[in-house]
């Protein structure tokens, strides 16, 4: 297949990644586990950050280290291509600074729970501000579709071009469909922004 860098094809496959974000308890690891070919793996990283805000009563500042854990899964697309899915850690104010996690992502799925839409606002803001393409997956695991698509879009203040997909994060087919919606969105955005490919 004619991938860029295919001169390395004799070595390792090429890796790409998609982020699965959203607030605490929206089903990120559940979605990763539903579509991954291996049980979700867990890894952690030490993030150093300026200690400001609520901890900083004296105005001293300084640096502190936080351990942030994330769950991820893997889908072997073919012999030359592997897709990794990273469920972002719950502590948003830390992973937003984790460049290695964010850099090079194809795009993101922001999961929302209609009972607690507000826990996913920060993720949507983050991807919008970074210009990272994303789709919204509405996790209907509690079986209740208590809000219409339009109500959810309005509550999330979603750009009309951002796809919104309803599904159960525990279901493999539903997880696959939200990922496919992201790929379609990437293809559509790509052809909109680059109508005349130069090379």
């Amino acid at each position: 297949m004619g991938y860029a860098n295919s001169d390395h094809a004799d070595a390792a496959p090429l890796a790409v990644k998609i982020l699965v974000a959203g607030g605490f308890g929206v089903g990120k690891t559940t979605l990763v586990g539903a579509v991954s070919e291996v049980a979700p793996l867990r890894t952690e990283e030490y993030l150093t950050h300026a200690s400001v805000g609520v901890d900083d009563l004296e105005g001293v500042g300084g640096k502190s280290t936080t351990t942030v854990a994330l769950d991820f899964g893997r889908i072997t697309i073919n012999r030359q291509l592997v897709l990794y899915l990273f469920g972002t850690p719950g502590q948003e104010r830390f992973w937003f600074m984790w460049n290695d996690l964010v850099n090079g992502a194809m795009g993101a799925v922001v999961l929302v729970d209609t009972r607690r839409l507000e826990v996913s606002f920060a993720s949507i803001d983050f991807f919008e501000s970074r210009g990272i393409p994303f789709v919204v997956g509405v996790n209907c695991f509690h079986g209740v579709r208590d809000r219409t698509r339009e109500e959810i879009r309005k509550a999330l203040d979603l750009d009309p071009q951002v796809p919104l997909v309803l599904g159960d994060a525990r279901d493999r087919a539903a997880g696959r469909d939200v990922l496919l919606a992201l790929i379609d969105h990437l293809m559509a955005t790509r052809s909109r922004t680059a109508p005349h490919p130069v090379a």
Partner: protein, 132 residues
């Protein structure tokens, strides 16, 4: 004179940071900054004599990486298998790259490609996902 806290069980978060950096010989930052979470690491064939020389100086964690990566694994997968933080794992993988025991293949950087992946990659991912 003994401090009164000596002998107390120290639950401080910093304690867990000490042991991983013992494995790295006290190094806390990788010498190379080109390893990403999804850089794929592959063991170089054992047949290469230069690599065999370096293997004698390996720590147990280096040997584990060497064995694990006979099948290409992402840095994050190696970290998960070793149960070590990503930054510590990168230091160890960096050692193995330096001594020629493993090869690292960087992921595609979409930021460099104008922000969007190649259409051929997107089509391949789409086709692969449809088979799930």
């Amino acid at each position: 004179m003994r401090h009164w806290t000596e002998g107390f069980e120290d639950e401080d978060a910093d304690e867990s940071l000490v042991r991983p950096y013992t494995i790295t010989g006290g190094r806390t930052a990788p010498e190379r900054d080109d390893l990403a979470l999804i850089t794929l690491v592959t063991t170089v064939s054992e047949a290469f004599p230069e690599a065999a020389r370096g293997r004698r100086r390996m720590q147990p964690e280096h040997r584990t990486i060497f064995t694990l990566c006979k099948r290409p694994l992402a840095v994050a997968e190696v970290a998960a298998a070793l149960n070590l933080p990503v930054s510590v794992t990168k230091i160890l993988i960096g050692d193995l790259i330096e001594s020629g025991q493993v090869l690292a293949r960087p992921p595609l950087s979409f930021a460099q490609a104008g922000g969007f992946p190649d259409m051929a990659i997107l089509e391949a991912v789409r086709d692969g996902l449809r088979e799930l």
